[in-house]
């Protein structure tokens, strides 16, 4: 490939690298936080190392040297942890999280070196100093490092082959040091199995400053010397040298590693043969022994792993590694094959077209009905069925578990709580509930703000909590679950709740509520979402400026969602965010009032009651209601609510729907049945229309309004309905 072709390939592949690196970086953060909780978990540590290694390796392909150089230091620290020389503690964890932020910054700004400001460079240099201080000097005694199980390491005094690689700093010669002398010194410690000089970084003669050093070497050294002895050879260049001394492996460990690294070969025997742990002949013998035990009772049957150990003399460690690899392959194979990366805008284009297809399909069905041709109607029905399947499948493509977004909050909670000096137990519940990807992206910021707010204002300090008779550590739960065609995301803390009096006082002072007027509690709580409202006595840099809470509500409402607060003074606060599952298409139930058409989300519909208008009566509070199986059901009369002008029909229907506040009825005149509803946003003029969440264009070009069952339910329980009820 020519250089131009290389560059073109790199430019084309760069977005994919950035996207994949972002995933790895996110995974690093999650793994680090998990490792904090399970410091003994070797798998987590290995995964963490692999993620960092992948980022470094891919960045190297793209020539992103800043990412490679910095990540290399992180990788070195992780390697020390894998070798059991360092144990994860809160300080190291914080450092690694900060390093991960830096890697993210470097990846995000990969294409723009000018974004790498002097401040960032200083920060990076500082992180490198901290990393090197740990990797070079801070080798914890074995007792301290016991938290992470030790990797392979040479026993002192036993001869072993060490892999040593050293990249010397540019000042090495000027400092009076010489890589040749060091290589010679190492040679004196044992037998040099192989040595290779790295001279690729040496500039051509015309550009070479001969007093600057660009050399590196990698050596395999067979020696009885310890790691300390080997590293001692570099002690005078340590400050200006990147050194990796990799512990030797025993033959069995080598085979175990070869098994781990090999691409998927599921059969146990084949795996062992391919790494040289077993000959093909031995394998055939073992297999025939196993075959002969097939007819025997279960207890007498031999497992292939046991036979390989007993008959073929394969080390248990190697068999265990092969079985482990096999297990991992089984677990990972389906998930590896399950994903395909698709550009989001291509998917959006398909979904937009799908919306048009649904409308066109409805139009065709209408025309088919007018022809009264049974075959045509039948064909249309079949086509609509298929369209519905395509719709569900396509919308499903955009659904992602909210848990991925929730996991990001672990870091926020950890850092925020620590900066506030608070102790917080953070729980995530129902992270597998799915939501449209664009919604997930848009909800992340409002959620972040609410979580911070809970930590900052909701949860008390340990001292305050203890004196209030609560446990010292606060509790913050972020949960998600599906509820009547929507998703409910709840942020719940066991803090002090909303101080109703202080909020009311502030609202009076700010003129948000007329002095002396006391609105219902729910309305008082919602005042915190008013622009510029803040009750924090001490404004902190996290929240408390009143900036953002109004934006939080606005952003949620822009997603056709709603936010509700449930405060229990002294006990805690629940913030409920309800969001539609998707922004595009819903299954609707269409009804008519006069000439107007309305669509209800089908999932909210419980039943439909035929009713003479006389059965709906007005109660003492002026609300319409209906007696249903001995219970009083509040009823919304759309004709009255939206001032629909038409003759009142003799018979009406009441559609019973359920909302978070309970069941209620919606009085309609015509039932038009189920349909797929492509949601179009309401124009600015109609945004303030209560109880309506959007509109939809029908097959014949008419417009139907989509009813928002939740806000309609709130109207019915609120005082507003009294004024509206006529």
């Amino acid at each position: 490939m020519s250089m131009d072709a290389d560059l073109a390939f790199i430019a084309q592949a760069m977005p994919a690298f950035i996207s994949e690196a972002a995933e790895q970086i996110e995974a690093i953060e999650i793994l680090l936080l998990e490792l904090e909780e399970q410091p003994d978990n070797r798998e987590l540590l290995d995964s963490l190392f692999r993620c960092a290694h992948t980022v470094k390796g891919s960045a190297g392909i793209f020539g992103l040297n800043r990412v490679v150089e910095f990540t290399h230091h992180v990788e070195t620290l992780l390697d020390k942890m894998r070798e059991g020389e360092l144990a994860l503690n809160p300080d190291i964890s914080t450092l690694l999280l900060q390093c991960n932020d830096q890697i993210k910054f470097l990846v995000d700004t990969a294409a723009d070196e000018s974004a790498d400001t002097p401040e960032q460079k200083d920060l990076r240099a500082d992180l490198v100093v901290q990393l090197r201080a740990l990797t070079e000097a801070g080798q914890a005694p074995a007792s301290q490092a016991a938290a992470v199980s030790a990797g392979p390491a040479a026993k002192p005094g036993a001869e072993a082959i060490w892999n040593i690689s050293a990249r010397f700093g540019v000042e090495t010669f000027r400092n009076g040091m010489d890589p040749l002398s060091i290589a010679r010194y190492l040679g004196g410690m044992g037998e040099v199995v192989s040595v290779r000089c790295g001279s690729d970084a040496v500039p051509p003669l015309v550009n070479l400053n001969p007093e600057s050093c660009y050399l590196s070497f990698s050596m395999q050294l067979k020696t009885k010397a310890s790691r300390e002895d080997i590293e001692g050879a570099f002690s005078f260049v340590m400050d200006d040298c990147e050194l990796d001394v990799v512990a030797p492996e025993t033959a069995d460990q080598k085979m175990a590693r070869a098994l781990e690294d090999m691409p998927g070969t599921p059969r146990l025997g084949d795996m062992l043969v391919s790494v040289g742990a077993l000959t093909q002949d031995k394998l055939t013998q073992v297999l025939s022994t196993q075959e002969s035990s097939r007819g025997m009772p279960a207890v007498a049957k031999s497992k292939i792993g046991d036979l390989l150990e007993a008959q073929a003399g394969v080390a248990p460690e190697v068999v265990a590694a092969a079985l482990g690899k096999q297990q991992k392959l089984r677990e990972s194979a389906p998930s590896e094959e399950r994903y395909i990366r698709v550009q989001a805008d291509r998917l959006d284009a398909v979904i937009n077209l799908l919306g048009e297809l649904v409308i066109a399909g409805a139009g065709a069905t209408l025309l088919a009905r007018e022809t009264h041709g049974e075959a045509l109607i039948e064909a249309n029905l079949h086509m609509n069925g298929l369209i519905e399947e395509i719709r569900n499948g396509t919308l499903g493509l955009r659904m992602v578990p909210v848990g991925e977004t929730f996991s990001r909050f672990r870091r926020v909670v950890r850092d925020t709580a620590s900066s506030l000096g608070k102790e917080v137990n953070f729980e995530i519940v129902g992270g597998d509930a799915e939501l449209d990807k664009s919604m997930v992206e848009k909800i992340a910021d409002p959620l972040m703000h609410l979580v911070r707010n809970s930590l900052d204002h909701g949860l008390e300090t340990a001292q305050e909590r203890l004196s209030a008779g609560k446990p010292a550590a606060g509790k913050l739960v972020l949960s998600a679950r599906h509820e009547t065609g929507a998703i409910l995301i709840r942020i719940e803390d066991d803090g002090r709740g909303i101080n109703r009096e202080r909020v009311l006082q502030r609202a009076w002072n700010r003129g948000l509520v007329e002095q002396g007027v006391v609105p219902p509690d729910d309305d008082i709580h919602m005042l915190i979402f008013e622009p510029g409202f803040s009750t924090a006595e001490q404004v902190t840099n996290l929240s408390g400026r009143g900036v953002g809470m109004d934006v939080v509500r606005r952003n949620i409402e822009a997603l056709r969602g709603s936010i509700r607060l449930n405060s229990n003074p002294g006990k805690g606060l629940q913030v409920d965010i309800r969001l539609p599952l998707t922004l595009a298409i819903i299954d609707g139930f269409m009804v008519g009032v006069g000439a107007s058409k309305f669509v209800l989300p089908l999932e909210a519909v419980v039943e439909v009651i035929e009713s003479g208008g006389e059965h709906v009566r007005v109660d003492e509070r002026g609300r319409h209601c209906l007696e249903l199986r001995g219970a009083v059901l509040p009823v919304v009369r759309l004709r009255t609510l939206y001032s629909v002008e038409s003759d009142l029909p003799e018979r009406v229907s009441v559609v019973v729907v359920h909302s978070p506040r309970g069941k209620y009825g919606i009085e309609v005149e015509v039932l038009l049945g189920q349909n797929q509803t492509v949601i179009k946003p309401l124009g600015r003029l109609f945004k303030t229309l209560r109880g309506i969440s959007g509109s939809s264009i029908l097959g014949n070009g008419e417009v139907a309004l989509i009813l928002d069952v939740v806000s309609l339910g709130e109207l019915i329980t609120g005082t507003d309905l009294l004024a509206l009820a006529g």
């Binding site: 090495t172 010669f173 010489d178 890589p179 040749l180 002398s181 290589a183 010679r184 040679g187 192989s194 040595v195 290779r196 000089c197 001279s199 690729d200 040496v202 500039p203 051509p204 003669l205 015309v206 070479l208 001969p210 007093e211 050093c213 660009y214 050399l215 070497f217 990698s218 050596m219």
Partner: protein
């Protein structure tokens, strides 16, 4: 100038700058004469360090290929120690070099 370049007896940091300039001038001349393979001799090299070997690595990273025609024992030992044994190609290198 000569067809082959004789490396100095002291191929180390103290002579590195001077050797580089001399090598550059010689390479320019060889290029002008249309040579497609440079010949370098380390016959006289008695003392060598990493910076000396780095000069040859820099020559190797240039446009014209080169090969070693003779080498002293200390030079060969240094190349082998640092993992640059590939320069000591037996087919072209005259052995029995001076020390």
């Amino acid at each position: 100038m000569a067809e082959r370049f004789e490396l100095p007896a002291e191929l180390n940091i103290y002579s590195a700058l001077e050797t580089r300039d001399a090598l550059l001038a010689w390479v320019a001349e060889q290029t002008a004469e249309g040579r497609d393979l440079l010949e370098v001799s380390a016959r006289d090299v008695a003392e060598v360090d990493g910076s000396g070997l780095q000069l040859l690595a820099a020559l190797a990273n240039g446009d014209l290929p080169w090969h070693l025609v003779e080498a002293s024992v200390p030079f060969m030992a240094a190349c082998r120690t640092l993992g640059l044994g590939k320069w000591l190609d037996g087919r072209t290198l005259k052995t029995g070099a001076t020390q």
